[in-house]
Structures are given as structure tokens and as C-alpha cells.
Symmetry: C2
Subunit: 328 residues, 2 copies
């Protein structure tokens, strides 16, 4: 029985190397013929082939993806921080007091070290000043405007042109096989929703992220949701399984991350019964992207890398495994 099932899965797997059943498009074309690619293709095949002992019913095909460092780059700082800094500069004319008030004064002087010297408190101040005080619809328009125009200081690309082509192919392959793909990010949910639908094909209702509070108001007869300067939820580390449960309500069968912030999400996913895929994107390509892991201040990958080795999770070596990073 076991032998037959394995043979069956292997045949299906071999077939899948050529084309995905739903689209007849090549599967994961930007991936070299490496173990991580094989693990991905094998997992999708065995969980979606009727009669396979690892078959997962369509309703339970939930895959969750971290965003920063997993679907797009995150160096030299989280892109949302670049947005917050740009936003503070844009708002500065209405806030003359910022010229002498930290962390705003450092932002306006372009002194990132000075900003970071203020620690977490300074960053929260920046996020509140730059993310709150508008309606939800105004904020969405502000994000769209920034995403359409802002450029990364090193690559000169738009930030949405720094998404990982090989990961777009993973998203497409999963969806072509009946998986629902979700983002589960420490980033702001309202910072992601305006653009992830057209960039990743992930609709707003499948985005889980950190949030500030909103409040319903009716002003001059017009209902609106106003963004308040209060943290609501931090979707990071042990918050990720909580956010997954809150939004999705069932345990994913596949999880994709790149840092210690994803460790609990990977643990929670991998600990479920039946077939599970836990995958870590390891940033190893200092030429085409950035190389960093255990010592990095952004996207540190230390404990999760050890746990991946101990538990047999799939680790992607970006330099070795991907033929392209950004898909040029």
C-alpha cells in the first residue's frame, strides 16, 4: 500500500514538473532543479491528488505567507518604515513643531541613525503620526500614491517591483491547485491591502497584519471609519498564530516565512495533523539582493533556522535555488 501510494505520488510529481494541471503553464519556472523546489511541487501534488493518502480537501487548503523578506525585500529597512518617513516629510509643513521634536527632527534631517536611536518608542510615534488621523479610504489612497511613485534608494525600483518572482510562482501554483493564499505579516494590514491584490493576487480579505484601532463615525450624514493613534494588534512572533486563528479560523497546511518573527507561525502550521509544509526563505544572495541571517537587525533569522534544521523544514537558498530574484 505504502509503495503503491509512493509510486503514485512520484508519477504525479513527475508529471507536475512539466505543467500544472489547471493552467498548462510551466510550474515554478524561476526555480532551479533543487530540493526546495521538489519539496514544494511534491507537497502540492500529494495534497491535491484524489486518492493520495495525503489528500487535503479543497476547503482546508490554506497557505500563509509572511510578506517582508518572504514575498518582497526588506533591506535596508522595512519598506513600510520608508513609507512612514516619506509621510512624515510630506506632513511636516503642517507640523512646525516637528523641527525640534524627536524622532521627527531626525527624520526631517534624513538622520536614520538618530531615528533608530529612539528605539521602539520612536518607531511607534512615527507610525502613529504617519498612519493615523485619516479615514480608512483616505489612508488607502495615500498608500496607493506612495506605492505608485516611491523608489527604493539602492535599486531605484518601485517597491512593488522588488517582489520575488519565484514566490509569485509559488502563489500561482498553489492557487491553480485550489489553495487559498493569505498574507500573515507583522506589517500594517492597511499598508498592504491597497496593493497586494494587483501585485500578489491576494484580496484584502485574505490579508492578516498588524493594526491600529478604527472607529465608526457618521459625519454630516456620511458614515466613515476613522484611524485612531492606538495600537490594536501586533501580528508578529506569537501574535501570528493568534492572528491566523482570528482571521482564518483554521490551521494552515502550508506556511512560508523568512525570519524569527515567523517561527511561531511555522511551528503552529507544522504541528497540525496530516501533511504540512513549513518553508523558510534564506537571504543568501548579496549580489542580486541582500545576504543576512543571524546577526541582522532587520529580518533576523536565527532560532527559526536552527528549528528548521532540527525539524526538517524546507529552507530556500535564494542564491542557489532561484534563477532570478525580481524577475527581470
Amino acid at each position: 500500500m505504502h509503495t503503491h501510494a509512493s509510486l503514485f505520488v512520484r508519477l504525479a510529481f513527475a508529471a507536475s514538473l512539466l505543467a500544472s494541471p489547471a493552467s498548462a503553464q510551466p510550474v515554478l519556472p524561476s526555480w532551479n532543479d533543487v530540493a526546495s523546489r521538489a519539496a514544494l511541487v511534491d507537497f502540492v501534488t500529494k495534497t491535491t491528488t484524489p486518492g493520495s493518502p495525503s489528500f487535503v480537501p479543497p476547503a482546508e487548503r490554506i497557505a500563509v505567507f509572511d510578506n517582508d523578506g518572504t514575498l518582497w525585500s526588506e533591506q535596508p529597512m522595512y519598506f513600510q518604515l520608508a513609507f512612514a518617513l516619506d509621510r512624515v516629510k510630506a506632513m511636516a509643513p503642517s507640523h512646525p513643531e516637528w523641527k525640534t521634536k524627536e524622532p521627527f527632527a531626525s527624520v526631517l534631517k534624513g538622520d536614520l541613525k538618530g531615528v533608530l536611536a529612539g528605539g521602539e518608542h520612536a518607531l511607534v510615534s512615527l507610525v502613529m503620526a504617519s498612519h493615523a488621523g485619516t479615514t480608512t479610504e483616505e489612508f488607502s489612497a495615500i498608500v496607493n500614491e506612495w506605492v505608485a511613485t516611491a523608489r527604493h534608494p539602492k535599486t531605484g525600483r518601485k517597491y512593488t517591483e522588488m517582489v520575488f518572482q519565484p514566490m509569485l510562482e509559488v502563489l500561482a501554483h498553489l492557487r491553480a491547485n485550489g489553495y487559498k493564499t493569505f498574507i500573515v505579516s507583522g506589517g500594517g494590514i492597511e499598508f498592504m491591502r491597497p496593493w497586494v491584490e494587483h501585485v500578489y493576487g491576494i484580496p484584502p480579505e485574505q490579508v492578516v497584519g498588524s493594526s491600529i484601532r478604527t472607529q465608526y463615525e457618521v459625519r454630516d450624514g456620511v458614515p466613515m471609519l476613522v484611524r485612531l493613534p492606538e495600537l490594536d494588534f501586533i501580528d508578529d512572533k506569537a501574535g501570528k498564530p493568534v492572528g491566523i486563528h482570528r482571521h482564518i479560523g483554521r490551521r494552515p497546511v502550508a506556511a512560508f516565512g523568512n525570519s524569527d518573527g515567523d517561527l511561531q507561525m511555522l511551528q503552529w502550521t507544522a504541528a497540525g495533523a496530516g501533511p504540512r509544509l513549513a518553508l523558510i526563505v534564506h537571504h543568501t544572495d548579496g549580489e542580486r539582493e541582500w545576504a543576512y541571517d543571524r546577526e541582522s537587525h532587520v529580518g533576523r533569522l536565527d532560532r527559526a533556522l536552527d528549528e528548521a534544521a532540527a525539524r526538517g523544514w524546507t529552507v530556500v537558498d535564494m542564491k542557489r535555488d532561484w534563477t532570478t530574484i525580481f524577475g527581470d
Copy 2:
């Protein structure tokens, strides 16, 4: 142009009275030929007919439904309260102190008036005692066991046999036309998720509700989410648009409610640009179900009924409009 479009919509509408395009099943068979039915069918037709001036792209076809009183009954008390009372009775042997401690003592004596005399504080105590302290998976199993066995005191039916057949048909008709259907309820999200998928066809990731906090823990190497006795979110009244935005991230085009607790959700939905449907289920059938509105302690419908009249929202008269309530 307007005349042609209207004619087009009317023809499509007439066709839709016979069969839905996707399934060739009769559309809303448990509805009499009344204005509310016409409004429903017309709305679905005009928002899903390519070329219609009211066409809504598939990704934006979001419909939200209150649960208590909109999809199933809610008298003489919210069914979740019946669950909480049963749960307190089941847990009582491990809590000898409850014999003399309110509101538990009243619950154990079967004195509902005594319970309610404690007001909101007593109800919150009951919910915390009966809903917290387990893992999420244990709680789900407890709910499933209750739903499979508990019977309504008046009808003798299982609670899930007290869902409204005409509303199941609305859910089916919307989904057959590319709508995503969500529950947005003041009830507990974890109380609904275990059974709404097989009863309503709504998956857990499309359920929005009130919640208590959960916490991620690893016990003896096993990751779990533990339910804490702390309120997290109240998805009622002005909380409903907030919950919708948090979970769905875009404004629904159709909303269905039955009480003042749904007023803000209906306002928020109706105030969007383009075609919108706001519908209220009015409980008018004292024989087949219950008749109540402005004076009821459960599911009070007062302000929202006035606003429905003022704004031209659709109001369903259950006695007049529905050929059956529970679908016997």
C-alpha cells in the same frame, strides 16, 4: 441609454425568476412573489450582468449577514446564551462554589430571571466561565457536541434546524452569482465557526464575530492557542463596520440584518458608491416563529426600522413574504 439598460435588466430579471444561470435551480423558491424578493433578484441580476450599468466586478461581490435573528432564530434568548447556561451546568460538578455564587447559582436553579437580574456583568461572567479556559480545539469540540445534541425548549428542534430556509436560498443565490458570503454577528466567532460551514456553506475564514483573547503557548512541545477570560472585540452596533473592515477590508455591497445591532452595518454598506442592497428581516410571524420588534429585549428593531423606511431599504415581512420559515 438608460431605457435600454433598464429593459436589459428587466429581461435578465424575468429570466432569473425561472432559474439561476449557474445552477439551473429555482431561485428563492420559499419566497412569495413580493417586493422584497423582487428587490433581491433584481439586485443580484443587475450587479452580475456584464454590460449592466450596475455591474460589480466579482472580487467586490461581498455580502454580509448578521446571524441571530437573520439566519436563525433568537428567541426566547440568543442560542449562544442557552449554550452558556448548558455549559455552566455541565461544568458545575467541578465548581462547588457556584452553588452560592451569582449568576451561577441562578443558572443551576434554572432561574433565568435571576440570571438576567445581574445585567451585563452577569452575562459577561457566564460567557467567560463557559467559553474560556480551554484550547481553541477543545472549545470547537464542545460547541460541536452541544450543537449535535441540544434542543430548543419551545420547538424541540436542534438549534441548527432553526435556520431560515428562505435565507439559505439567498446565500445560495448570491454564491451562485459569484458573491462571497460572510457572517458578521455579535455572537461569538468561535461559537459559530464549528457549524456554520456545513449549515450555511460559510467557511470559518468568512465569519466575523465577537471574541475573547487567545494566547499562543507551547506545552510539552505541542503548540496550542489558549482561550483567555478577557474580551477582545465586540462585533455589535458600531463595532460591526469596524469588524467588517478588520476582516474583509472592503465595503460590502449587500448587508442583511434584523435588529438595531445591525444599523451601523447597514448604514456603512448602503453609503458606498454604486448599487447597494440593505435588507432587514422583520419578525412578524407569531405562529410559525416569533413576532417582535420595537419593544423586544432580544433583537430589538426600532431605529433601524425607521431608517429602513426613510432610506428605502428592503424590509422582509416574514409572515407575508416567506412560504416556510424552517423549511419543513
